[in-house]
């Protein structure tokens, strides 16, 4: 009977657990603490320091960005010949070349990089971004029908596409060559097509399926509908640049964050005439268009629409969705390529921070009288 009571009534003579709270700093909310405060000294110093930092960085960035040489040429309209050629439907699958000339007034010294640029090409569209199978690109034999590649996953007869997905299918396939017109002779500028992608992409993210040779590795798969050649023939000369680990392919597969972007295409090999970079003079870009096969009938649908809209048709077709194509030559510095925005933004915010510092000083001094009055009280 007694233990009944024990649970309710404290009994005397019995050691009771103390109900008194612990006297610990944590429980009594007396933990030692740093109590930062915005004082005039700390605020002003931080403003002026920030201002100085921003201005310095800004100046450096602007100077370095200005030292970058860049040439950008829009070729989406210039090759109208090809368009005309293809208007004749019987010729639509013929190869076509076009050339764009330009002149360098000064030498471009140092490493020169060649980019292709696309405008209004929505690589960052949600459905586009997910339309790939990284497992397949890693060389695994996966069931891509269950991946997000659709509709570019299999053909109607069930043959899987390799690589699958909208990104791979739409790979940039214009071929651009650069010629140096030296004394009325055309010298092809030597261009490097490997070593342009990230090391991790080339060595970790993309692997070819393992087999004794590449074509057998891709046996049982078919090329994506817009491709002219299967993936194991992308670079027949260089085994390490063929299949999924082809640099052009890898670079394309790293989708851009925005609809307007440039991708590294080639690097100028610094040999012979071009050991110092590109010498001044006349140059020609020669662009060869490849052929689109229209197995899905999509092209034809859009072509029809274009005809109605009276717009030009070219290949690697971009004009349909108001896209543009560029070819770009540029050098780089420590902060990357030509990038005026960052430098200017730094200069502006540095100026703003410094000015704010002065304004705060002014306001504070003006109110000093009042302030001391408060403090005396």
């Amino acid at each position: 009977m007694e233990n009944k009571k024990a649970s309710f009534l404290p009994r005397e003579g019995e050691a009771q657990p103390s109900r008194c709270p612990d006297n610990s700093a944590f429980k009594q909310q007396r933990l030692p603490a740093w109590k930062p405060q915005l004082t005039i000294a700390s605020v002003l110093s931080s403003f002026f320091l920030t201002g100085a930092f921003c201005l310095t960085v800004g100046v450096c960035l602007v100077l370095s960005a200005n030292s970058v040489r860049e040439i950008q040429i829009d070729y989406s309209d210039k090759c109208s010949d090809c368009s005309k050629l293809r208007e004749n439907t019987s010729n639509w699958n013929k190869e076509c070349h076009c050339s764009v000339n330009f002149t360098l007034k000064e030498d471009i010294l140092g490493d020169v990089f060649m980019y292709y640029g696309l405008q209004n090409f929505y690589q960052n569209h949600r459905r586009y971004v997910i339309s790939r199978s990284d497992a397949q690109l890693l060389g695994r034999n996966v069931n891509i029908q269950r991946s997000s590649c659709a509709p570019f996953s299999t053909y109607r007869n069930g043959t899987p596409m390799a690589p699958c997905g909208a990104i791979a299918n739409s790979v940039f396939n214009d071929t651009i060559d650069l010629f140096y017109n030296r004394n009325s002779s055309m010298i092809q500028v030597p261009l490097l097509k490997t070593g342009n992608s990230w090391w991790t992409d080339k060595n970790v993210k993309f692997r070819n399926p393992e087999s004794y040779n590449l074509s057998s590795a891709f046996a049982g798969t078919a090329r994506p509908p817009y491709w002219q050649k299967p993936v194991y023939l992308l670079d027949e000369e260089n085994e390490r640049n063929n299949g999924f680990v082809n640099d052009d392919f890898i670079i394309w597969m790293r989708v851009s964050a925005f609809a307007t972007f440039r991708n590294l295409y080639r690097r100028v090999q610094r040999v012979r005439h071009f050991a110092e970079g590109l010498p001044a003079g006349n140059y020609t870009f020669q662009i060869s268009y490849s052929i689109l096969s229209d197995s899905l009938g999509l092209l034809e649908r859009c072509r029809e629409m274009e005809r109605n809209l009276n717009t030009l048709l070219s290949d690697f077709p971009v004009t349909r969705f108001k896209g543009r194509k560029h070819v770009i030559l540029s050098t780089v510095v420590w902060s990357g390529g030509s990038n005026p925005f960052l430098g200017i933004a730094y200069l502006a915010s540095g100026t703003a921070a410094t000015l704010t510092g002065f304004v705060i000083t002014g306001i504070h001094l003006k109110l000093r009288k009042k302030k001391t009055y408060f403090q005396k009280q």
């Binding site: 404290p10 709270p21 695994r140 307007t260 705060i360 306001i363």
Partner: protein, 1495 residues
């Protein structure tokens, strides 16, 4: 034949056939068989629904007529209306469903149809079930509909039989004189006539009823049957009409029948056993039950909905785990919380007395207690859980009552027994229960074993003080009341044994309790108050209305707004998507064809709306509610842990009983305080007395002068008396000398005190005392072990009485024991037994109590004590001189705030007494007993001889005046609502400084009629306005024309309002309440005396309603419960008056003075922290989410996210949750001492300055600003940029990493700015979060994970490649600078130009730390002085000085109050003025009483 024509009215019962036929012809040959089957099944469902509806309509009308008839005492209906109503109901029912199901509405009818072959047999059971179900539902509906009326009618007890039975509303019962066979026959014939009638009406060979009028004919038929055959049994005619409602009455148990000693009989009813189960879950049920509960939360359901959206591939813009991971985390936290709650008894915050025990364990312990049960005439030991309803059990002294028992008999005469109800209501005094006379004689087990009475009583409920029932035994009825009941949880005291009949066993109440727990609104992490084993106790405390704070409400509004905003953004982006797809996307299809099923841009826009809803849902963060709960829980723990709110004397720490209201503690504007037990200790100390014109009790020093406070000499030594209570103290030795010298008057005085009372005595022989005995001095050391044998304990109904009897005890007149007829007193060591002839008990009208005693010598004497106003009138004229001296003394005592009583006696002649007692006896049995008794009492209590007067000190709680002063300075208005007398209340108000002598005026409203009250209030207002006009020289003139309120708020001078209960009743009437409120709010102090508990609640409600201010009610007694439940925050003082207030409260502690700490420190911090937390939380989520919105314009509105999906998943739960939680839990703007020193710091909370809609928009704006920069700066940088190795920089993954990194850094810097109090934990969390971000980032982008799940971890190698770029870091730095610098600038300018008081306090502290002024020392000195006032009486000399020192202290601290956003200059003026006239006011101790009388 078209489908429609099939549905046209087909008379009566062949409808189904017709329909099926029609369908068969219509269905083309070769239609799919499955489809046909489906049709038929559908058809059946349709019929059942139709039958359900028609039966429902029929029964609801029929029952409704009965309810209307019965529940309104046949004033709103009679037999005819109910007959007509139910007949027409049949018609309505047939019209409702006659064409679809045939509207049988009656199982008997269906049966007849089957018998006659017009209805398929297989449908019969279905129809019966449906019909019964329908009538069950309609019975429920009627019950709800007439709920109030039924309860009113039945006086709270629902019974089947008796004058106020209500069961016949629902089911029909045969009349009393009808036998079973007759009743059966009646029903068979009635139903038969009905069937014959209906068949006849339907038979086409008869005269046909006009088409469409068949139902009318049936109705008339029914009416005729009812009129002819309704008397016997109420004419149900319809089994469904009876069975369904009867089932309902069974489920909603209306009454309880218990037969003694008849287990088989009682088992029929399946009453719950006595086994209790307080735990809500077991291992198996935990998961489903808990999940079910959690998904009742709107927020959780919302996220579940989002999760389902995400599973639709076309719109899932995020992986499923981005929602499920946070959701699972939130659910897990809550579930763990619930599980611990369930496992550990008592909520974590509120360790109930069961301490550390586990709930499951304590259940077992309670269930296995032993009790003696009478089975088959033999007493057997049984476990508690095996006790059944109807058992007779025997209890012995000091045993717990095992279940709710009907007391049958006891060892004491007249079947009395004494119980202690501390477990139920916390009251420690003994209560008396009495068996009804017939059972009281059943003394031994054999008699009891033959007892076969049957109890019919109310169903289980939670009313502790009410019980209604009847005992049927031996052809007689005996009414039962609460006086006959022993409730589970009580302890039997002073009674050797007793027998009781189990009426309610423990379990049932428990189930009810659980029901009500579950119905109560739940909240994640809210510790559900644990039901202890004492079910009734918990049931009574009830589940208070779930209180929400104003921040909660604001938060809900804001969340709704955010939803609106979310939908707007979704719509904008969806439109954008439609346009984009139409303009661009349609051609971009060569590279990116539309999804299957999407054929138009418009549809694509629609899908993208949902996609955007998914990715933008993080503006309403899933973790918001759970974080808020965690923070509140933390704050509650801090309250529980606070050593400065721990009362060592009572060993009670403060306790946050709810964890949902903490921040509201920082916003309180009105405090409603009880007086007794809250402001005062409710400890009565015998302080002074006047005997035969001589006043004793003044504290004297050596020279015989009145001693100053704090210089008391040694107390009087009572060691001569072995029975003296060592805790009693008295300082005037002359009284003891008088006793010792044998002063007859003094002897008689103490004899009276030792005889004239209702105290119970108890002598403990084991040397053990129950805790919580009546403390008799303020230095009660109730927990010191008292091992002396034979210790005497008094249990008194009121502490006054205890104090008086104890005083007599110490002066040598020891009340030793009592029996119903005698009182034994040790008079100066000699035991004398007096015969107790009568007790003329105290009540509110008489205001006195008397006893009539026969001394051993045989003299009969009446001793009386009572209120002076009453008693002085009843004295014999010879006392005139003595009366005037005593009156002087009384005035003196009253002036000191003491409670006084006058003592007198009268000798009675033997013959007179005999005559009187004869008449008393007769009056006792006559009608109008009360009046007769009062008259007789009145007659005998006159011509008395005055003995003297006593003065009892009502001790103030410690530190009350200081607390009130500080709270007043914090602009909190304190109203005292007390049930006490006006004089007492005013005195106490003076002693705790609510009223002061230098108040401009104290208005006293005591009007008895509406007009008087209105007039008095008007006068008070006018006076205040006049004064302000004259003071301010017309400054307020222009304001006068505006609203009255504004004028009254600008009143100069200090006023107080005292209003009593009568007037308050008028003042609270609808037309005057605003007037009253305005007047009252203009006053500094408001005292309502003589108010009822209901009025207390009304006053609180009034202020809540009109002032929109946060109210807090504090009290300790049962009479404060209503007020505590009404106010926004209820605080219970765990004091003398039991624990009901504590149970109803949200916070509890044992000293009023802790209130200042609760509000000014904990409340203020909670509010501050919560506001900062919310601001930051909304900011960070907007900054995070809005980036998607801007990105939408650049990605073709395709609902592409900016960040990696893992970042989205973890952002709220890992990267940013802990720093802000640490800030929400630990932040302090100023140290705790400062918030006590500068009560003005409390004001921002009252004005709701720190988090309101404006602040919300500011944070949202800041969030959006941040998100813009967060997107556009990287965009500007990345648009054309290349890496330093020439490759592209602006790939999607690098961009995502850059934005995410800068976001994490920016919000971390921002939390660093917001955190004002960097403890080690804050450091750890902030730096830890950043570290965690980078660790997780590099892990997620590592090769290993990618090789394992290539499709999940696509960002492989991204972190090391991107974060190696100087440009990326420069971008992050720039973003951070641009986001943070303006914030710093604004904050600093605000601090510099318009500092808050807290800023200034912090600043001065900084300065002070450097300068080390002597500020602190001075303050310290002030504190020492004021500590004494715990012993102070109202406004006695000497106390004034203390007030002055207190004032000084506060004036200096006020210096800074001018920084406050709302400086109340007039108020400071008053204080200054006060300071100036200290000298004049200090000298007039009687000034206050004068003033109170002046109005």
């Amino acid at each position: 034949m078209s489908d429609r024509s099939c549905w046209e009215v087909v008379p009566g019962l062949e409808a189904t056939y017709f329909l099926q036929h029609c369908r068969a012809t219509e269905t083309p040959v070769g239609a799919k068989l499955v489809r046909g089957l489906l049709r038929i099944r559908n058809q059946l469902v349709r019929e059942c629904l139709a039958e359900l509806l028609s039966t429902f309509v029929l029964i609801i009308i029929t029952l409704g007529t009965a309810a209307q008839k019965i529940a309104f005492f046949e004033t709103k209906g009679n037999l005819i209306t109910s007959y007509v109503g139910s007949a027409i109901a049949v018609m309505v029912g047939i019209y409702v469903a006659g064409g679809i199901s045939g509207a049988h509405m009656n199982p008997a009818f269906s049966l007849a149809m089957c018998l006659t072959g017009q209805f398929p047999w297989w449908k019969f059971p279905i129809f019966v079930v449906v019909q019964t179900l329908a009538s069950f539902i309609s019975a429920g509906a009627v019950y709800i509909l007439y709920y109030d009326a039924i309860w009113h009618y039945s006086n709270g007890t629902l019974t089947v039989s008796g004058p106020r039975e209500t069961a016949s509303i629902f089911a029909t019962y045969p009349a009393d004189n009808v036998s079973l066979a007759n009743g059966f026959l009646d029903q068979v014939i009635g139903t038969g006539v009905l069937l014959v009638g209906v068949m006849g009406l339907m038979d086409t060979r008869n005269k046909p009823v006009p088409k469409g009028l068949e139902p009318v004919a049936v109705a008339l038929l029914v009416l005729s049957i009812e009129c002819s055959m309704g008397a016997n049994c109420g004419c149900p005619l319809n089994p469904a009409r009876d069975i369904g409602p009867r089932l309902f009455t069974y489920v909603a148990e209306e009454e309880r029948r218990v037969r003694a000693n008849a287990r088989e009989y009682n088992e029929k009813f399946q009453y719950a056993s006595n086994c209790i189960k307080t735990s809500k879950y077991n291992i198996v049920t935990f998961l489903p039950v808990n999940l079910f509960e959690q998904f009742q939360e709107v927020a959780n359901t919302y996220f579940l909905f989002l999760l389902i959206l995400q599973l639709i591939p076309q719109i899932s813009s995020l992986s499923w785990f981005t929602t499920i991971v946070p959701l699972v985390l939130v659910l897990t936290i809550t579930a763990v919380k619930d599980a611990t709650d369930d496992y550990v008894s008592g909520s974590p915050c509120a360790p109930l007395p069961t301490g550390q025990e586990f709930r499951h364990k304590s259940d077992n312990q309670v269930n296995n207690r032993q009790s003696q049960v009478l089975i088959g005439g033999v007493l057997r030991q049984e476990q508690w859980m095996n006790v059944r309803v109807g058992d007779i059990i025997k209890l012995e002294n000091n045993q717990f009552v095992a279940a709710d028992l009907l007391l049958l008999s006891s060892s004491e005469p007249h079947g009395l027994c004494y119980i202690e109800t501390a477990e139920l209501d916390g009251e420690t005094n003994m209560k008396v229960r009495q068996a009804i006379p017939v059972t009281a004689e059943l003394g031994d087990t054999s008699q009891l074993a033959r007892f076969d009475g049957e109890v019919i009583c109310e169903p289980p409920n939670n009313k502790l003080d009410k019980f209604g029932g009847t005992l049927y035994w031996k052809e007689n009825k005996y009414p039962l009341s609460n006086q006959n009941m022993l409730l589970r949880g009580c302890v039997l005291r002073n009674t050797e044994w007793c027998f009781g009949l189990v009426i309610f066993a423990g379990g049932l109440r428990q189930q009810l309790l659980l029901c009500c727990t579950e119905q109560g609104e739940r909240h994640p992490l809210m510790p559900s108050r644990s039901p202890g084993p004492d079910t009734k106790l918990m049931q009574n405390s009830g589940r208070t209305k779930f209180k929400r704070t104003s921040i909660d409400r604001l938060m809900n509004t804001l969340v709704l707004w955010i939803f609106g905003f979310l939908v707007c953004m979704g719509v904008i982006l969806a439109i954008g998507n439609a346009i984009w797809e139409h303009e661009v996307g349609v051609c971009f299809q060569i590279y990116l064809p539309w999804d299957e099923g999407v054929h138009s841009a418009f549809f694509s826009g629609f899908l993208s709306f949902w996609s955007y809803i998914i990715i933008l849902n993080t503006v309403v963060p899933i973790s918001l509610y759970v974080s808020v709960e965690v923070i509140r829980l933390g704050h509650s723990y801090f309250i529980n842990w606070d050593k400065k709110m721990y009362c060592a004397k009572r060993r009670t720490p403060a306790e946050a009983r709810t964890t949902t209201l903490n921040e509201e503690l920082g916003q309180v504007e009105y405090i409603f305080s009880d007086k007794t037990g809250t402001l005062t200790q409710n400890i009565m100390v015998f302080s002074k007395c006047s005997v035969n014109g001589h006043s004793y009790g003044d504290v004297q020093d050596m020279l015989g002068h009145k001693a100053e406070l704090g210089e008391r000499p040694e107390p009087v030594d009572f060691s001569f008396n072995p029975l003296a209570d060592p805790r009693f103290q008295f300082w005037d030795p002359s009284l003891l000398e008088a006793v010792k010298l044998g002063d007859l008057h003094v002897h008689e005085f103490f004899r009276l005190l030792s005889l004239c009372h209702t105290v119970m005595s108890e002598e403990k022989s084991e040397g053990r005392r129950a805790a919580g005995s009546i403390p008799l001095g303020h230095r009660t050391l109730s927990l010191t072990p008292m091992l002396s044998t034979g210790e005497l304990l008094y249990k008194a109904q009121s502490p006054d009485e205890g104090a008086l009897v104890t005083a007599a005890r110490n002066f040598g007149f020891v009340f030793r024991s009592r029996t119903p007829k005698t009182i034994t007193v040790h008079e100066l060591g000699q035991a004398i037994t007096y015969e107790l002839l009568a007790i003329l008990d105290f009540n509110n009208i008489r205001k006195r109590m008397s006893v009539i005693i026969r001394s051993p010598e045989g003299k009969i004497r009446l001793y009386c004590k009572g209120a002076d106003t009453i008693l002085l009138e009843r004295l014999h004229p010879v006392n005139q001189d003595l009366t005037s001296i005593t009156t002087d003394h009384l005035n003196e005592y009253a002036g000191e705030g003491l409670r006084t009583l006058v003592l007198a006696y009268r000798d009675l002649e033997e013959s007179y007494y005999r005559d009187w007692s004869e008449r008393l006896h007769r009056a006792g049995s006559a009608e109008a007993r009360e009046d007769h008794l009062a008259q007789l009492y009145d007659e005998v209590e006159h011509d008395m001889m005055l003995l003297g007067a006593t003065a009892i000190e009502d001790k103030l709680q410690q530190g009350v005046p200081e607390t009130i002063a500080i709270l007043t300075l914090a602009n909190i208005k304190i109203w005292v609502l007390t049930g006490d007398k006006q004089e007492t209340a005013v005195n106490i108000a003076y002693s705790c400084k609510m009223l002061t002598d230098d108040m401009t005026e104290v208005f006293i409203v005591t009007g008895h009629t509406v007009l008087e009250v209105r007039e008095e209030l008007r006068k008070a207002r006018e006076k205040m306005m006049d004064a302000s006009r004259s003071v301010c020289n017309g400054f307020y003139q222009e304001k006068l024309s505006s609203k009255l309120t504004s004028v009254l708020e600008a009143i100069a001078g200090e006023y107080a309002l005292v209003i009593n209960g009568h007037s308050l009743a008028h003042a609270l009437e609808a037309d005057m309440e605003v007037e009253f409120l305005e007047t009252a709010c203009a006053c500094k102090a408001v005292i309502c005396c003589r108010v009822t508990p209901l009025q207390k609640a009304q006053v609180v409600e009034l202020v809540k309603k009109y002032k929109k201010a946060v109210t807090l009610a504090i009290g300790d007694g049962a009479n404060d419960v209503s007020m505590i439940k009404t106010a926004h925050i209820g605080v219970g003082i765990s004091g003398q008056e039991g624990i009901q207030a504590v149970l109803a409260s949200d916070y509890s502690f044992s000293q009023f003075k802790f209130l200042q700490r609760l509000l000014l420190v904990h409340g203020r911090w909670s509010y501050l922290r919560m506001c900062k937390f919310l601001c930051y939380f909304f900011y960070k989520n907007f900054a995070f989410t809005m980036v998607h919105f801007w990105f939408g314009f650049f990605c073709g509105f395709s609902a592409q996210t900016v960040y990696d999906q893992y970042f989205i998943t973890l952002y709220n739960i890992v990267y940013t949750s802990l720093p802000v939680l640490a800030m929400g839990v630990f932040d302090q703007d100023v140290p705790e001492q400062r918030s006590m020193e500068y009560p003005k710091l409390y004001e921002p909370g009252q004005l709701n300055l720190l988090f309101n809609k404006r602040e919300f928009f500011i944070c949202i704006a800041q969030g959006i600003y941040t998100s813009i920069l967060m997107f556009f700066i990287p965009y500007g940088v990345f648009a054309d940029a290349t890496r330093d190795d020439g490759a592209q920089l602006a790939d999607y993954q690098s961009f995502a990493v850059t934005v995410a990194t800068s976001l994490v850094i920016v919000v971390s810097v921002q939390i660093g700015l917001d955190t004002g109090f960097w403890t080690a934990i804050n450091h750890f969390f902030i730096w830890g979060s950043l570290a965690a971000y980078f660790t997780i980032l590099f892990t997620m982008h590592s090769d290993g994970l990618f090789r394992m799940f290539p499709n999940q971890f696509r960002f492989v190698g991204n972190a090391q490649n991107t974060l190696a770029q100087p440009t990326v870091w420069l971008t992050i730095a720039l973003t951070t600078v641009v986001c943070i610098v303006p914030v710093v600038a604004f904050r600093f300018l605000k601090l510099d130009l318009k500092p808050e008081l807290s800023d200034t306090v912090r600043y001065t502290q900084l300065v002070r730390k450097k300068q080390k002024t002597q500020h602190r020392c001075m303050r310290h000195a002030g504190r020492v002085g004021s500590r004494r006032s715990g012993y102070a009486f109202s406004h006695q000399e000497g106390f004034g000085e203390l007030i002055m020192s207190g004032k000084n202290m506060r004036l200096s601290s006020l210096a800074l109050s001018s920084f406050a956003p709302r400086p109340s200059t007039s108020w400071i003026e008053t204080l200054r003025k006060k300071k100036g006239c200290e000298g004049s006011s200090a000298g007039s101790p009687s000034g206050a009483t004068d003033k109170t009388l002046r109005v």
